[in-house]
Symmetry: C3
Subunit: 189 residues, 3 copies
Amino acid sequence: MGATRVIETLVLSLLLFLSGSSATQRQKTRAGPRLPCKQMVFYFHDILYNGENAKNATSAIVGAPAWGNRTILAGKNHFGNVVVFDDPITLDNNLHSIPVGRAQGFYLYDRKDYFTAWLGFSFFFNSTQYRGTIIFAGADTLNKTRDISVIGGTGDLFMARGIATLTTDAVEGDVYFRLQVYIKLFECW
Amino acid sequence: MGATRVIETLVLSLLLFLSGSSATQRQKTRAGPRLPCKQMVFYFHDILYNGENAKNATSAIVGAPAWGNRTILAGKNHFGNVVVFDDPITLDNNLHSIPVGRAQGFYLYDRKDYFTAWLGFSFFFNSTQYRGTIIFAGADTLNKTRDISVIGGTGDLFMARGIATLTTDAVEGDVYFRLQVYIKLFECW
Amino acid sequence: MGATRVIETLVLSLLLFLSGSSATQRQKTRAGPRLPCKQMVFYFHDILYNGENAKNATSAIVGAPAWGNRTILAGKNHFGNVVVFDDPITLDNNLHSIPVGRAQGFYLYDRKDYFTAWLGFSFFFNSTQYRGTIIFAGADTLNKTRDISVIGGTGDLFMARGIATLTTDAVEGDVYFRLQVYIKLFECW
């Protein structure tokens, strides 16, 4: 009898717990430590067209403010310049390593008084390890590390969500930069 | 007594199962087959401004690399061209069917050695069937079918997430193309 | 005995309920009322560069169709104009209030017959109240209120998802506008 009562209470608590989680089904608030379900590190390499490097360039200025042009990045921290890119992705920080995919999309410089940029792009994988895309959007800054959002994915990265921590690994004038991208997914399907 | 013990074990397993799912609440890993909660098929029609079709054009080049202009798509697979569009959405593949909404946003060509593009756009519905928007982002390629991400939605498509499979249904030179968009949502609110 | 049987039934129902929710784990369909887990209201202020206000301008035309330029918004409801912005965010509708962050990104006008725009931008917070970013994408219209999507977030707004209701709070010609942004998050981590 006593045991039965205990179990009854347990079952009722469970039911309450479950109905509680039903009630909040449309309002997801998560507690507890954040544990990525997938982590990956890549590098990508951007060589900006400057009028003389048509063959090697992987990106080009395609938009500029009235005071700028499409061959040289504008003053005021390049405010208003829009750049389209198709950059090789490598597993290490060597530009000449065999690419495992392409980083494709755009960035635009969006601050007059110091450097910030807005990024919308994909990682496009078509290798033995991964097939599919990861979609990114977010704000790039001068901070040593900064986070952008992983807003979607397809193929092996279907429905991915998470963040990507960017670190500038190298800069050579206005022509070359290399970013390390540390991807942490928190939704994996 | 034996029955009570069995139930006790069951209840304990349940509690463990539940506490387990609490522990991983911030790290969603889903298993099992992928079943869309909503599927829709639409077509949209893009007529690019070419200097002579101002009346019918639904899109226009608004960005170009230094070697291009805004009336004719640039060489090198149109690398660097940015196009803004406001295209009619139809239920079948007939340009002259009554539109059920507008596909609005941009695409940019982002590869020099063959054709790829990056898309950011919305489907804007204001019909008896749907009211609201679906937001898309992702990489378009020359593959027969290719997936982009559904990254959000409003109104009837509130909080939508999923993928959309694009198929080129028709191309007429650099002026007209028609895409079939097969939307599969995996998060429906 | 009767009590045990009742409990057995309850436990079995629970197990079925749980296995049911496992089966649909990859297809989230939520029912019930929509309750935001976080709500915030901000204003942001856009001063468009017009050739004469270089010092105060917070945004600039960086893309235009063939028939437009980058100093004056084009005809046909500015179709094809792409604008990059870095706008102050305030808690009230006073341009001169101390900013709590920056709204940074782009909008592009995407309709010839009346005004609509497509937005991709971030709220960048670096104040005592919030640190981090919220990422937005979606369609802006002439409606009194219109919803865009919150597609991601970082820092204090980690993994944010939801919608933002935009209301035009003021417009002064083609030079200044102020938007109220009422953010409602439905996924909070």
